[in-house]
Every structure is written in structure tokens, then in C-alpha cells.
């Protein structure tokens, strides 16, 4: 009897541990081979046949189609450079240099990967349309209310994700080294 009860408890515990670990890893988007630059993280292998089982399970669950390595690479940011969560009620300034690429785009999503509705129908910028100063530098203000210059509305959502995609870039394709080049810095300016 004692053996039976112990076995049952063990099996229940095993199922809880196993399924709990799966749920935890898949909702957090765990993957190997992360390339970190400042607040940004990319997983170049997720866009190739070398994709790891965790990333495979995650994209199967969410329905996403990862960007292929021959196409480009996507960097995700969920916090600013100081580690503060990207809160849509705060103002963040994204500025600095980008690695070599023919084109880049930056897009704001909610944590589920949906675009955030806003009045001016602006969800991101491309390298061709962003307004630059005379030195060729740019600054994008991610804020709930209108800003002069490059304003990316965050719609006041509790948490948002920025995705920086580099197209036709040597990063992640040939290199896969630690020499990634600079990425824009994200600084929190204040919260309303």
C-alpha cells in the first residue's frame, strides 16, 4: 500500500515538474545561441536548420515564422539598457548606431507579437524614412503622447517589445562571432 501511494505521488510530481518546465521554457521563449548586444538579443540559429528544439517548440506554439539567416537577423529588446521593463506609460529614447545592413526596420509589438493600435497608424520606422540630423544620427522617442521628430507611439500598453531587424547583413550569416557591432541604446527618460 505504501509503495503504491509513493509511486502515485512520484508520478504526479514527475508530471508536474515535466509539464511545468515545458510551460515555463516555452512561454519565456528560451533558446540557445543567443547573441546579446546591450539591451538587444538575437537568435540567428533560429532562422536556420540548426534551430534548437526549444526554439522549434516555441515557434510551433506561437505560429511565428522566424526570419531566415539568408534574409536578415532580428534583435529583440524587452528592457532598456539599465534593465527597466519597456513600459508604454514611460518615454524611452532609442538612439545611436546600427550594424552594417542594407536596410533595417524597428517595430513595436505587445508581448504576444501583435502591433499596438494608435491614432497615427505608426508601428515602426525603416532606415529609409527615419529622420536624421546633419551628422546622420537618429533618435526615436517611444512615448504614449506625441513628440517632435521620430515619434513611435507606445499606446500606453503595460509592456511592449521592440524588434530591430537588419536585412541583407553579414551579421549572423557569416560571422556568428562576438564581433557584432554596435546597436542603438535605449534610455528611459521618465514616466507619466
Amino acid at each position: 500500500m505504501r509503495l503504491f501511494v509513493s509511486s502515485c505521488l512520484t508520478l504526479i510530481l514527475a508530471a508536474a515538474i515535466g509539464l511545468g518546465a515545458t510551460w515555463f521554457t516555452l512561454t519565456r521563449g528560451v533558446a540557445f545561441g543567443a547573441m546579446k548586444v546591450g539591451a538587444w538579443t538575437a537568435w540567428p540559429k533560429t532562422g536556420s536548420v540548426d534551430i534548437d528544439p526549444y526554439a522549434r517548440a516555441t515557434i510551433a506554439r506561437t505560429g511565428a515564422l522566424p526570419i531566415g539567416v539568408g534574409d536578415g537577423v532580428a534583435f529583440f529588446a524587452r528592457t532598456d539598457d539599465a534593465g527597466n521593463a519597456l513600459d508604454g506609460r514611460c518615454t524611452f529614447l532609442v538612439s545611436g548606431a546600427t550594424p552594417a545592413a542594407r536596410y533595417w526596420t524597428v517595430t513595436l509589438y505587445d508581448p504576444q507579437g501583435r502591433l499596438v493600435a494608435n491614432t497615427i497608424d505608426r508601428h515602426g520606422f525603416t532606415s529609409a524614412e527615419v529622420v536624421r540630423d546633419t551628422g546622420g544620427n537618429f533618435a526615436i522617442a517611444v512615448a504614449p503622447r506625441a513628440r517632435p521628430g521620430n515619434w513611435l507611439p507606445s499606446g500606453g500598453v503595460e509592456q511592449f517589445v521592440l524588434v530591430w531587424r537588419l536585412y541583407d547583413t553579414p551579421i549572423g550569416v557569416a560571422s556568428l562571432t562576438t564581433k557584432e557591432g554596435p546597436m542603438p541604446i535605449i534610455v528611459r527618460m521618465g514616466c507619466s
Partner: protein, 186 residues
């Protein structure tokens, strides 16, 4: 006490096995992956433009809204597939995904080097049947092997500014993918 510790250790080991097997089984068990989502709204072996990602209603999560996107959901059981994708003025790419959303090949306009991306998609078995001499004469013919019989081809054309989206969509509207029936076995 040691008995309890042993039971817990057993549970941990078993839990690890449960965890690994569920992670590995997820791609085949998932019902909301990209292929399943697209099979509800696209025909097979035809290029279909996807509606612009907007607000809460997107076909797939984390789509780049700066791109016009078209999809060819292919099934190679009836023959090999011919893809023709004209290039837009800014940036065009074609990415191939297996049935389980693994990106196994991607090519962009510069790598293609011509005015259109043209290639043949076939399974390794169909590739083996391609006559040897034909393979040689058509040296510039780009052949891609699909690891799975069905899958997705995603064509993306960049609109560098929102006003150029119509141009990007027009470029993709001329893209084609069609099945070429296999020659009768000799």
C-alpha cells in the same frame, strides 16, 4: 528519510523525461503553427498576398509591417514546384520553411542577381530523378531541396516608406508558384 529522497530523485528524473519529450513533440502536436494558420485561408501551390498586419488581427505574430508579404503553401506530392518572384525596387527576399516552420533556405534580391528570383523546389527523391544531362545544361538553374513534402514559401518586399507599400504589393502580385508534373517514369 533516504527513501523519500530516492522517490523525489525518481520524480525529478521522470520529470526531466516528460519535459524533454513534450518539448520534442510540440512541433508535431501544435495546431496553431504558421502552416496550420495559413492552410485555413490559402489554397495550395499558389501565391497569395497576406493582408497588411494591423492591430489585433494579424495572420502570424511578429510580422514586419514595413513589408508586403505573400505566401505560397506548397505540396510537392504532384511534382516539382517552379517559383518566379519579380523583384521590387527596394528589397525582396524569399524564405523557405518546412511544414514545421523551420527556415531551411532564404535568398534575397542581391544574391539572386537578376531581375527576378527564379528557382525550382523539389524533394531529394525528385532531385535524384532529374536526368543528369539536363542538370548540366541548365547550370544556372537554381534547385532547392525541400526536406519535407509540404511547407511554406514566404515572399517579402520592403516598402521603405508607407507610401511605397502599393508598389511593393504590386511587385509581389506578379509572383507565381506552380507545380510541374513529374515526367512519366521511363
Amino acid at each position: 528519510m533516504i527513501r523519500v529522497a530516492l522517490w523525489v530523485l525518481g520524480a525529478l528524473l521522470l520529470g526531466g523525461i516528460v519535459h524533454l519529450s513534450t518539448v520534442l513533440a510540440m512541433p508535431t502536436a501544435a495546431t496553431q503553427d504558421a502552416y496550420s494558420r495559413l492552410s485555413q485561408r490559402t489554397p495550395v501551390n499558389a501565391v497569395v498576398p497576406l493582408p497588411a498586419a494591423s492591430g489585433q488581427d494579424a495572420t502570424m505574430p511578429f510580422m514586419d509591417p514595413a513589408f508586403a508579404v505573400a505566401v505560397c503553401r506548397y505540396d510537392l506530392s504532384g511534382g516539382t514546384l517552379k517559383l518566379h518572384a519579380p523583384l521590387s525596387q527596394a528589397y525582396t527576399s524569399v524564405t523557405f520553411y518546412t511544414r514545421n516552420s523551420v527556415a531551411y533556405y532564404a535568398i534575397n534580391d542581391r544574391a539572386a542577381g537578376r531581375r527576378a528570383i527564379e528557382l525550382d523546389l523539389m524533394t531529394p527523391e525528385q532531385r535524384a530523378q532529374v536526368p543528369e544531362e539536363e542538370d548540366v545544361t541548365a547550370a544556372d538553374r537554381l534547385i532547392i531541396e525541400s526536406p519535407t513534402q509540404s511547407g511554406l514559401i514566404v515572399l517579402r518586399a520592403l516598402a521603405p516608406e508607407p507610401s511605397l507599400m502599393a508598389m511593393a504589393r504590386r511587385a509581389l502580385a506578379n509572383a507565381q508558384c506552380r507545380i510541374e508534373p513529374l515526367p512519366a517514369a521511363q
